[in-house]
Symmetry: C2
DNA sequence: GCCCTGAGTGTAAGCGCATACATCTGAGAA
DNA sequence: TTCTCAGATGTATGCGCTTACACTCAGGGC
């Protein structure tokens, strides 16, 4: 790494001008074959790797797309504690792992899957992907930082103030992922939360004959939760049921919260026929407790979730849920950016991806 | 986005020189407070976001660290099929999800968790993270591309040829993640595969009285698999057992493969007392089949895995395994890069992270 | 034999920023 | 009052690359 070599070095080494070196790399066909070979040989010999910074400056595009997430629960666990083993540390630690030991780390599907989709689509379109997570005292500094490094970026909605959004969008295209639409000015991709929950609820009423519900909601500031609850209410109304008669248990989107709600329900007078939860984690918590108390699911009580996480497929009984296309969300976001890049004047994009209601044994079993 | 504004615009707008604008952003204390405010107001008003390309060029460092992965199974599924809904597409699709419908998508822990750790550590150190996955006809083109964009990068071992490795490492520090050590020239972080498998196997022999094994190995070209198998063999030897007497079933690291092996075992003369698998996916496949055939685990057969994925915790019975610190692997890789960046002349780093043997019900139950 | 043409290559001008160095200003010292 | 010096700001250069444009040098048509 003794001073990385540059076009000048390669040019000198192969006896051509820097323009020719550049051409060999960007438009090889414009250069005579013999010259090209000579230059490529120098590239190999000198270990030359073009500087993307210089290239980006000159071409005024970076070839990078950005993805920004707010801080995630799964990330918060990480801390400053030293994690590297000391000099004499054991290489193996043998422990009896009790069923309830350790916190259940919520595998953050949103992050993992949206990222996966984004990376894939960016790659397909010939872009690299830069990721950033907002943390610390000034989470949105990261947004600005990324904005300076990319040709366009996707931001998980609800995580950035309008002011910052407005600011960076003057430099690059910005697309919002999930959450409510932010004014009419930003491109936006999301999933059919409302429609999905409405379809599921309607199925419970029409297909399973449920008239007696409990609803387990997420935090009040979650736009996803609001949309899902709206779908639930709409389904009830459409069938002439009174939404106000349904008890709503509001809290955080966690498995523990689901357990707490189930305890409350069990302590109550009478169990509802169906417990509809605004996400899978909570539904799994409900299943944990009902299972432990010998309640028959779905015979006595139907339980449903939302998201379609893997753990729901592995639960017993398997959880009926609404699967969000999270990978596609990432892909669609990248596409939206590119579309905007190609055609800056087009009207704002607002894409709503379809969801899939997965009917499984927590609602469909013996009845 | 009508032409992003630059330092020049901000300078003109606030009546100062570009040097002052730059100072306001980089070293605010060197500028008089009143001037600073004026410049910051212009920054806000013009929606100015500094170009990282220009900054990188001028400062000859990018402030970005890179992470490169080879193509992953979980990624391969993604294809060019159109995924965006057509104009009249339904927003909801209601399906009865049968237990065996759909492929079991292996959540790629390696990717997700190493990435998580890398991003976190990069952020802590004030760097952004760029990710790339090798795919297509020339997977390692991506390595070169990333190398031109970052101050240092981590590469998942085994995924890049020595030639490419050598080439990019002349420009930036490169650290290899997992796999075998590559010569003595590269910095390298990995986990204690051998020691972990040896400890687990030793426990099975000493603690569970197992003398009769079957071993389910991964693909022949997997260095992880090789190390794990070496640990297994070492444990047998240390207790006077003959490794050659243990049937080894070699194949890919998948759940389906585990099921196939279990079928084979069941079809055989006699079941071994313990089935040791080189990863969790395969062990889960074995559990699937044994469970379906009413074989008592661990009463009749003990099953163990390796990796510590979440699904193993949720299996019934819960899977005994060796947990790799994947998040820490990512963090350690980023640290190694920075360490090398600060002190280019230090001797090669070779860090081996400890693993944790998790004894759960697939080996520990009633006996 | 001359001019035109196009392929191949070189020249030079930025791209937007950081920063060494020059310049200017005003307050305090003499 | 004049000089000094430090703080504040401006000037100018270069980071490594892309690319418009200029140039050279055949070969072909006249």
């Amino acid at each position: 790494m003794a001073k990385a070599s540059t076009v000048y070095d390669v040019a000198a080494h192969s006896g051509v001008s820097i323009a020719t070196v550049s051409r060999v790399l960007r438009r090889p066909d414009d250069v005579r074959a013999s010259t090209r070979e000579r230059v490529l040989a120098s590239v190999r010999e000198l270990g030359y790797v073009p500087s993307a910074a210089a290239r980006g400056l000159a071409a005024s595009r970076t070839g990078v797309l950005g993805l920004y997430f707010p801080s995630l629960d799964a990330m918060e666990e990480l801390d400053d504690a030293e994690f590297l083993p000391g000099p004499g540390a054991a290489l193996v630690d043998l422990v009896v792992d009790m069923p309830d030991s350790g916190a259940v780390r919520p595998p953050n599907l949103y992050f993992d899957e949206v990222l996966r989709g984004s990376e894939f689509e960016a790659w397909r379109q010939g872009f690299a992907l830069m990721v950033g997570v907002g943390r610390g005292s000034n989470p949105t500094d990261m947004v600005n930082d990324i904005a300076g490094r990319v040709d366009g970026m996707a931001i998980l909605a609800q995580s950035v103030s309008d002011e910052v959004l407005e600011h960076v969008s003057r430099r690059i295209p910005v697309v919002l992922i999930a959450g409510p639409r932010r004014g009419d000015d930003f491109d936006h991709v999301s999933v059919s939360n409302t429609e999905g929950m409405k379809a599921l609820t309607t199925h419970l009423i029409d297909g399973c004959g449920v008239t007696d519900f409990a609803y387990v909601a997420g935090p009040p500031d979650s736009p996803d939760d609001a949309e899902r609850h709206a779908g639930f209410v709409a389904a009830l109304r459409a069938r002439g049921l009174d939404p106000r008669a349904v008890p709503v248990h509001r809290g955080e989107f966690s498995r523990l919260r689901g357990r707490a709600v189930a305890d409350t329900l069990l302590a109550g007078r009478r169990m509802p026929r169906a417990v509809v939860c605004a996400n899978d984690q909570m539904a799994l918590g409900v299943l944990d407790v009902l299972g432990a108390h010998g309640v028959d699911v779905p015979g006595d009580v139907i339980v449903t979730g939302f998201d379609g996480i893997e753990a729901g497929r592995q639960a017993a009984p398997r959880l009926t849920t609404v699967r969000q296309p999270m990978v596609d969300l990432g892909r669609a976001a990248m596409r939206a950016i590119l579309s905007r890049l190609e055609n800056p004047e087009q009207p704002p994009i607002s894409l709503r991806l379809p969801v899939k209601v997965l009917l499984r044994e927590s609602s469909e079993g013996r009845r």
